[in-house]
Amino acid sequence: MTTAAAKSRMPLDPALLLVVPAAAFMLLLFVYPFLYGLLLSFNPKEGNWLANYRFFFTTDNEWPTIWTTLKLALPATLINVGFALPIAYKMRVKSRYQRWITTILVVPITLGTVLIAEGMLIYFGPKGWLSQALQFLHLYDGPIRLTHNYWGVLISLVISGFPFAFLLILSYITGIDPVLARAAATLGAGPKSQFRHIYLPLLAPGLAMCFCLAFVQAFSVFPSAILLGSPAGPTRVISIAAYEAAFEQYDYALASAIAMIMGLVQLIIVAAVLALRNVFYRGPVAGGKG
């Protein structure tokens, strides 16, 4: 614990000790395994220290997994955040329906990716209610191909990701003091310009955060890519590649290397979003006299 010497130099605030267990836990079980994996990835089974990374970037069914994953994760995140923002903006005002609608929109969070996959397999399946209804109404007679391909995975990412994005944006929006918008309204701003000039700038940090968190979820898509996609082909996402390396080939070094690449791509996207946010709006987020 704290030594007497340290205490005599500067009185140590005992409250600081409260953060020690959490910090120690994270260092031990998050940072240490991460560094261990990083080192392991440079110790391949055979070849020099870069062999795992060279293997990943030169093998034909490995490196395209990055694009496969991005092609799923970016549209899914854009759809989720893009629709969550206007709907959450509508729901910011307290009303009788607000709590009901938010509850209904949030409930799909509990479904989880596995249940959504099972539901979609039945509902969108060849004998499912959707294709029956379309045939019954003579809208479309052909088979619906919404499972076992790209679209199935994308739809499942929207179903599981939208409630989360909505909940997060809603709590950011309702955290903005309505007095600011009211002040703008007394100066003649309609709902649209209130949104553009008051809410959007204040929301920028929250939106960036929400985009990052929603993207993490979509980027690490795993169960739905296997159950709803075609894991051998168009939806062989990077997490499948990492999983196969670890638990089918038992090559932990290669798996760690793929996991590190995955983390790196994720961090690049996060950095890009944060940079974009700075371009989009730079200035004080709290109200003040400029």
């Binding site: 605030d13 409250a15 600081l16 409260l18 953060v19 267990p21 959490a22 910090a23 836990f25 994270m26 079980l29 395994p33 991460f34 261990y36 392991l40 629709f83 206007p86 709907i87 005002v93 607000q98 709590r99 509850t103 209904i104 929109l105 969070i109 509990t110 989880g112 990716t113 596995v114 249940l115 099972e118 539901g119 979609m120 039945i122 509902y123 209610w129 179903i159 909940l167 997060l168 709590s171 309702t174 955290g175 309505p178 980027f219 690490s220 795993f222 169960p223 296997i226 159950l227 997490s239 990492a242 999983y243 670890a246 798996a255 760690s256 996991a259 590190m260 983390g263 994720q266 961090l267």
Partner: protein, 286 residues
């Protein structure tokens, strides 16, 4: 001219509102039907290409209960979830307190350390973590699963609790200090009662998240330490082997378990107050 433009604006506003409402309805209706399809299938005697099955039965539930050993799976799930909630609160709440009240060198770095696990895909740290846990012979045991689930849960508690603690008047703590309370006494007698609602909210949210968290449990669980969501994944994955209806019955059990807890959570937590607490104003502008 101005009137025409106003008309156009009004029309555009109406169309936009209609579009949003339509999308919301489409989303909710389709999800409802999707769940309905699973529910119907789980009670179906035989269901092949008709609107509704030919007959109804509950045998799939007893079959699923036996086939998938749901009693032991549910017990493992309960153990894991409650251990994770308890431990996450135990290490998360004190840390959140310090982060909310004190400023010290390295605070930003510490915040980053707590934010990173939520910003990195679970598979990225799950695979190295599983490797380390295998080395320690903890992988495949329930302890390994609990440890793995704590990694996103503890930071989540910190993130939710910090704003809650920030809004508690520090003068109450100063008053307790004046009367000579130690940090520990003040924590138990002043903060914990005031934090009650926040702790309840955080624990329920962690609980719901942990039940649904798939990847980390999947990577670290062994045959005896599967939680419900992982068992469900294996059931769906090996679909051809078993009757689809019993898989659906299991899916319904899973949904019932999560839904009950979510509804309890929503009873105590207003979803809009997850990240920051709102000042209530009497008359919002419409």
């Amino acid at each position: 001219m101005a009137a025409a433009r106003q008309d156009l604006h009004a029309w555009f506003d109406g169309a936009w509102r209609g579009l949003l409402l339509g999308l919301m309805t489409l989303f909710v209706v389709n999800i409802g039907l999707m769940i309905g399809a699973v529910a119907t299938s789980s009670f179906a005697r035989r269901w092949l290409g008709t609107w509704l099955p030919e007959g109804w039965t509950t045998t799939w539930y007893t079959a699923a209960w036996k086939e998938f050993q749901l009693d032991s799976v549910l017990w493992v799930t309960v153990e894991v979830v409650f251990a994770v909630v308890f431990l996450a609160l135990l290490i998360g709440v004190p840390a959140a307190y310090t982060l909310a009240r004190r400023s010290f060198p390295g605070k930003r770095l510490l915040m980053l350390l707590f934010l990173l696990p939520l910003m990195v895909p679970p598979i990225t740290y799950g695979i190295p973590l599983a490797t380390v846990l295998y080395k320690l012979q903890l992988a495949g045991t329930i302890y390994g699963v609990i440890i793995a689930n704590l990694i996103p849960a503890a930071p989540f508690v910190i993130l939710v609790m910090t704003p809650f603690i920030e809004q508690i008047d520090p003068n109450l703590e100063s008053a307790a200090r004046v009367f000579g309370a130690s940090t520990g006494r003040m924590f138990w007698h002043i903060l914990v009662p005031l934090l009650g609602p926040g702790i309840l909210a955080a624990s329920l949210l962690v609980l719901v998240r942990t039940i649904a968290l798939f990847e980390l449990t999947f990577l670290t669980a062994g045959p005896d330490s599967q939680t419900l969501v992982v068992a469900l994944y294996y059931a769906v994955f090996a679909a051809g082997v078993r009757a689809p209806q019993s898989v659906d019955a299991m899916a319904m059990v899973y949904m019932a378990v999560t839904l009950v807890w979510l509804l309890i959570a929503l009873r105590f937590v207003n979803p809009t107050q997850l990240v920051s607490r709102v000042k209530e104003h009497p008359q919002p502008v419409v």
